[in-house]
């Protein structure tokens, strides 16, 4: 082991030495795309993974579909399927598990384990890293494998990403001890905190705007000041930037007898009944922990067949594993295990969930996955199910657009274009007001298509509005879509709009009116080129 620093360092000496295996763009590898073919996996209209060929063309993570297709017109778009990613990665996990016990996954494409035992066994950390790379390559020949070995999950994760980014990926080993860790992290940009550490983007942006561009700048500040200025999130960012303990606050090891298991009298050969049973177990476990106000952050999932074939795997999620998250991960693990080449010799008889690490559930969402609540997950699943039943084009969420007309302020976007439980982007409040927008209250019914109407004066002639906004006569009656005319009991206007006068194609010039009628309805009408339209009803 490396040299230890004097005890004057604030960093606790309990930061474990970890190996992180990182396969970037795992989703395209799992989808079976050739590295030479430009292809990308999209989720919620954003690129989340791309092949090296697409990367060479300039496609990046976070690009929108159109943007990516503009950069690379031959790009093949692959749908996001987390189950496929998990199932395919299981082969790599099995391969490494031959040599290394207690493997832990955060998501498909990433593996973490303690460095100490395996490195002794293989005769050194570097030798072990080379061996593990080979094991992953055996299982997934197309994957790019990055390996980082360092103190703590964050530093090892950063090293693994750097390792994968090299032109010829080679393991990166950071010396043990807080000084070496800090020296390695110091020159990295603060955006690393978001990419690897799971710190919210706005917190990272704030750091950058305050002039803290590198992790070293942040680590150089006194910890109490950072806590006072940025709160718990800032304190956590400071801790990981200085190479400290990166486990969520309040992390503890649960009592050894805390586990839930299910024994099947009849061996189960199919995946679906196992997943169904898992749901029950997960709810039971979640209930046990929730009664103590805790949530499981690391969970051991064990399945055993009648002939003692075992699949044991640790799953880690920094902001706690909810019931849905547990079920999803068990599905990934068992799907790959049951469908492995050769298959299982018998059915599953035992399923066991053992919490390995719990932390207090104080609602402190670190936002690694966006910090979703149980209700969000239920809703997201219902949306997915409805979209499967009637088509994604038929299910909509609101998105903010901004504009002077009620129909312009918000629009409906179908869920294949937007993420249901990530509303920040689509509902971001425009920082500039729209002058000319009618003040509250707004109409409760906004016509998807404006309805033609006619407005008459007392003598029965159509009311005309001239270019200066003067009316030919006071409006007295309105007829909507050819129906019989209603007497107007009150009116106001015209409020002119002159939009996009700089664009000859989209230039619009119109005047808005509000009417109330004898039947008690209130309408918002516009007149454009002497044609009246009803655009909204105050219903």
């Amino acid at each position: 082991m490396g040299s230890h620093q004097p005890a004057s360092q604030t960093t606790p000496s309990t930061v474990p030495r970890l190996v992180v295996v990182w396969c970037p763009d795992w989703s395209v590898v799992a989808a079976g795309a050739s590295p030479l073919e430009p292809a990308a996996v999209l989720h919620a209209n954003r690129v989340i993974a791309r092949t090296p060929a697409a990367a060479a063309a300039g496609v990046r993570q976070g690009h929108r579909r159109r943007e990516a297709q503009r950069i690379c017109p031959t790009l093949r778009i692959i749908d996001h399927d987390p189950a496929r990613d998990g199932r395919e990665f299981e082969a790599a996990v099995r391969s490494v598990a031959q040599m290394v016990p207690r493997l832990e996954s955060t998501e498909p494409g990433s593996l973490t384990f303690l460095a100490r035992g395996p490195s002794r066994y293989f005769g050194g950390e570097h030798e072990m890293a080379v061996r593990v790379t080979q094991l992953v390559r055996d299982a997934a020949p197309r994957a790019c494998v990055g390996i980082g070995i360092a103190d703590g999950r964050f530093t090892a994760g950063v090293a693994a990403r750097h390792s994968a980014e090299q032109s010829a990926p080679a393991p990166i080993v950071i010396d043990s001890g807080p000084a070496a860790t800090r020296a390695y992290l110091a020159q990295l940009p603060v955006s690393t905190l978001r990419e690897v550490g799971g710190i919210a983007a706005d917190a990272v942006d704030l750091l950058r705007r305050l002039g803290l561009h590198r992790l070293g700048d942040l680590a150089a500040l006194p910890a109490p000041d950072v806590l006072a200025r940025f709160g718990p999130v800032g304190a956590f960012a400071h801790r990981i930037a200085s190479g400290g303990d990166d486990r969520p606050p309040g992390t503890a090891t649960p009592p050894p007898d805390l586990l839930v298991s299910l024994t099947f009298d009849d061996p189960v050969h199919m995946l679906d009944p196992l997943v169904f049973a898992t749901k029950q177990l997960a709810q039971q476990l979640h209930g046990l922990l929730a009664a103590d106000g805790r949530v499981c952050t690391r969970l051991a999932v064990l399945a055993e067949t009648e002939h003692s074939e075992r699949s044991e795997h640790l799953w880690y999620r920094p902001n706690g594993l909810s019931v849905a998250a547990i079920v999803e991960r068990v599905r990934w693990q068992l799907d790959g295990w049951i469908q492995q080449p050769g298959g299982l010799s018998s059915g599953v008889v035992l399923l066991r969930l053992t919490p390995d690490e719990v932390c207090s559930d104080d609602g402190n969402q670190l936002g690694f996955w966006g910090g979703r609540s149980e209700a969000d997950e239920w809703a997201a699943r219902a949306v997915a199910r409805v979209a499967g039943l009637i088509g994604e084009q038929q299910v909509f969420v609101p998105a903010r657009r901004g504009g002077r007309q009620p129909s312009d302020a918000y629009s409906w976007v179908s869920v294949d274009q937007a993420d249901v439980t990530e509303p920040t982007e689509r509902l971001a409040v425009a920082d500039m007001p729209w002058p000319g927008q009618l003040p509250a209250p707004s109409p409760a019914t906004v016509m998807p298509e404006a309805v033609p109407a006619e407005v008459f004066d007392a003598a029965g002639r159509v009311v005309r509005v001239n270019g200066r906004g003067a009316l030919s006569a006071d409006p007295a009656a309105v007829s909507v879509q050819g129906r019989s005319a209603e007497a107007i009991t009150g009116w106001a206007g015209p409020w002119p709009i002159d939009e996009r006068w700089w664009d000859t194609q989209q230039h619009r010039r119109m005047a808005r009116f509000q009417f109330t009628t004898e039947r008690g309805s209130a309408l918002l009408a516009v007149v454009e080129h002497q044609q009246w339209w009803v655009t909204a009803v105050y219903s």
């Binding site: 609540s373 209700a375 969000d376 239920w378 809703a379 997201a380 699943r381 219902a382 949306v383 199910r385 409805v386 039943l389 009637i390 038929q394 299910v395 909509f396 969420v397 609101p398 009620p406 302020a409 918000y410 629009s411 409906w412 869920v415 249901v420 509303p423 509902l427 009618l438 003040p439 509250a440 209250p441 707004s442 109409p443 409760a444 019914t445 906004v446 016509m447 998807p448 006071d474 009150g490 009116w491 106001a492 206007g493 509000q514 009417f515 109330t516 039947r519 008690g520 309805s521 209130a522 909204a536 105050y538 219903s539």
Partner: protein, 245 residues
Amino acid sequence: MERDSPQARHERLTQLTPAIGPVSFARDRQLPVVPALEALLPDGGLTRGYTLGCQGAAAVSIALAVVTGASAAGSWLAVVGLPALGLRAAAELGIALERLVMVADTANTGALGETAWANMAAALIDGFDLVVIRSNPNVRAGTARRLQARVQSRGAVLVVVGDPGRFICDLVVTAQAGTWEGLGDGSGRLSRRRLGVSVSGRRLARQRQAELWLPSANGGIEAALPVAIAGDTVVSDTVALQQTG
């Protein structure tokens, strides 16, 4: 009576637990509503498992007003078949747009059969606390009953806008056409609407009525006149609560 050993007492208590055990009060199963509606609804909130019918000229507005409190408090809202819903008005009312999902109602256009429509509605009830649907004349009595049973077991609230058809409503909220204020003869602008709202139904012994500002001057909802209960001459909130038990 002689004193038991602690163990025996513990055993007796354990036996008693199921009998005296968790009593679920109706008010524990409530979703919040906006203050202006509290006195109108039984137990001052939306009871989980209920089916509400919203009728009258301002049915859409009152349906949204009823679910606003719960939506703002964290519940997800699904709206079926109201593509003309004014989102700015909904936001002004207080509905959380980040927890709003709209499903196009292809049933009424004939593109979706009754079974598929029922599956869609059932999936929404499973995932959402609040489901607002437009009345669908094609729904059969059996389907409506199964969906309502699902609403009850899931603890959701179903709001049917317009004629409830085969759905059996626990409460019916009727909003008459209101009167708008603020518009003159070529001057002013629409500022607020006074709306007469009445609530009746099998979960309410006597009809309750109120006058609301919906929307009020800021697009929200406010009480214009306190709640009146049919048969009462003097009306105040406290009396109403005592008398209805």
